[in-house]
Symmetry: none
Amino acid sequence: MCPQIIFMDFNDKQLKIIETAEELFAEMGFSGTSVRDIADKAGVNVAMISYYFGSKEKLLEALFSFRVSASTQILESILKDTQKTPLEKVNMVIDYYVDRFNSNQCFHKIMVREQVASHRIGTSDIIHHYKKRNQDLVKQLVHEGQKTGDFNKHVDVPLLMTTLIGTVSHLVTTQHYYRVINNLEDMPEEQFQKHIKKKLSNHLKFVFKATLTHEA
Amino acid sequence: MCPQIIFMDFNDKQLKIIETAEELFAEMGFSGTSVRDIADKAGVNVAMISYYFGSKEKLLEALFSFRVSASTQILESILKDTQKTPLEKVNMVIDYYVDRFNSNQCFHKIMVREQVASHRIGTSDIIHHYKKRNQDLVKQLVHEGQKTGDFNKHVDVPLLMTTLIGTVSHLVTTQHYYRVINNLEDMPEEQFQKHIKKKLSNHLKFVFKATLTHEA
Amino acid sequence: MCPQIIFMDFNDKQLKIIETAEELFAEMGFSGTSVRDIADKAGVNVAMISYYFGSKEKLLEALFSFRVSASTQILESILKDTQKTPLEKVNMVIDYYVDRFNSNQCFHKIMVREQVASHRIGTSDIIHHYKKRNQDLVKQLVHEGQKTGDFNKHVDVPLLMTTLIGTVSHLVTTQHYYRVINNLEDMPEEQFQKHIKKKLSNHLKFVFKATLTHEA
Amino acid sequence: MCPQIIFMDFNDKQLKIIETAEELFAEMGFSGTSVRDIADKAGVNVAMISYYFGSKEKLLEALFSFRVSASTQILESILKDTQKTPLEKVNMVIDYYVDRFNSNQCFHKIMVREQVASHRIGTSDIIHHYKKRNQDLVKQLVHEGQKTGDFNKHVDVPLLMTTLIGTVSHLVTTQHYYRVINNLEDMPEEQFQKHIKKKLSNHLKFVFKATLTHEA
DNA sequence: AATGAATGAGAATTCATTCAT
DNA sequence: TATGAATGAATTCTCATTCAT
């Protein structure tokens, strides 16, 4: 079904390289980061990267596999919960996305960049598979809410997903502008993260409740 | 206030370079594009780029100035219109953004990428200025709606802007995935653009109406 | 007919690079020579090689085109001469080969090496074309001699060509062994070249006369 | 006299490495083959090569020792045969060379390449020793034939050796061209080998008989 | 005895920019 | 004003070899 997401057992040095690459790719972009930069920051020999991953491109793919393979069941488990109302589940999905983006900011910055270009096949396959799966799950959830009469009938799930992911990823990638524009420059980083996470969660929950229940 | 947005008078060759650079930067990223690629595709001498713009970085800045300077008064004029209700104005703002992103896809792909990184000062200043101004204008509009009682009181304008821009830019940058996931691969490009533009506009108008008027 | 042998107009620097590369490839082999070696010896910047030829491989092809394209009509003109007997023409062909190998020793050393491997397409096409054409010309000449009754009937031209080229190229490539084995180490280089050229010419003429006229 | 030709007792793994190296060196050249290529193809650890042979260069020397040491007495035994006429012996020498080259094609391709360069001392000493010895033996044989009056007086043995070895080695190294030029591309490999071996043997025997017995 | 891990050196090539004209 | 030529620096990757185990 998704042969390219192979769970790999990375050793400490490989993990160190992956994590360092993640930080640098996030900040400088893939092409803007040299393998030497990564090696230097990770404290390993330059040749190690080719040795372990084959190439810079393959390192990016390894990073994708590593991050994507980490979370596959959470959304499923949210949906299966029979105790929750569809709206409660929607709120959980929102928190899942807010959490994921918030705790993997570097990776998602890379994702945002990579999604723009369609020419990197190795990664775009992984992204595509991941997006498709999640959209299908949310579609199920919306149908569930429509059946119970909680949600209105004409919800455009693909665009709702676009709003969800777009809002979260845009905030994550432009948070430094958000700080400046909203005069939050002096707030300590940790506090700022908590602050926007909370606000973003509330905002999206409100937007989604309004959208899903508002009569056309 | 914004010294770097200088309206420049570009000659034909300069414009050709800027437009070619825009296409390539959009697809390959800034670092992923070489000046030689640009020069070749634009049909000019490599030295022209340094000659005209000073450097590759400066070319990017010129591109930003060029695109941003082009539209400064539209939002203002929407707001000033005394004939329209606040909700009508919101819808106009939405269409303005949808239009802008749709007709300047390449540029906005670059913007999305560039926003991620905070290290490129030349462009981030322009982006910051642009975002700040637009957010302030929308804030005015929301206040106007709140005064008239059309909008509810606790609207988070910065996050609403995030949702607006995030949704539009996410769709623009991931439209190839959107096509595939929603089985629209065979639709001709032009028709597809019309299709998503219309859908996106309706979707956002509905979301905004619901959000701005929904009682908490 | 032979599209890959394009006559190129090389400038002085390009010629310098080609000639230096020829010397080094002859002595160290293609893979055994680095572009840096060539650049250093030729007194040019390393980047020049990529700049002018695109790649190391393409430089080799340029060298082949350069050397091969130089001599296309000589054999034809020998054959056309109506004043000479077939045997005289054979002797002229022999001298042509001896001369060619002798005055382009470096290039022919490269040819000998390159012929071994069939994996370098760019050059093997040129070699193949060149060998085919020359063999066809010699075949004509032998037929001519057979018609006049000068040569015997069962001459195997492909193998005769193998003997001709094999003998000359083997001597060229192993001349340092020849010197040592035959106690000619003290002979000055120039004199040695003259010496073996003369001896080789006589030897081959004798072998060919014997072979072509000897009754089975 | 020839200290480097030491008969070495290679174990299975060492032999596997040597044989694999032989194939790769023949096709790709010494510099064009990496120890990793050899190790991978031979199915052994990369470190094995340094471990067993010391270095890549030493592996080449081991290969030479291995192949050269294998055949030292055959030529001697041919000469000693008192039953055969000088011409019969010459024919046997020819078959010996044709056989040797034919059954050790890979090795002889390497030899051809290595002979070109004089800079690899380890191997050139072995080659030199080998050539010198064989030439001396053939010189004896020719003298024998001259004494009996079978061969004419002015035979140039060094150049006759050059013709013998040059012809055989040229055919071995350029057989793929030979196939194409003579429209034998569809002949199965095994059959082709038999075919050229037979033709080459007959050709050389005829050339040698003619040359050795032809009156000047 | 054998090997997976590791590495410094060097490989070819591309880069943005400069310079002479 | 415009450009072909040129280049030093940096790019990714491969190399043969060594080392700890």
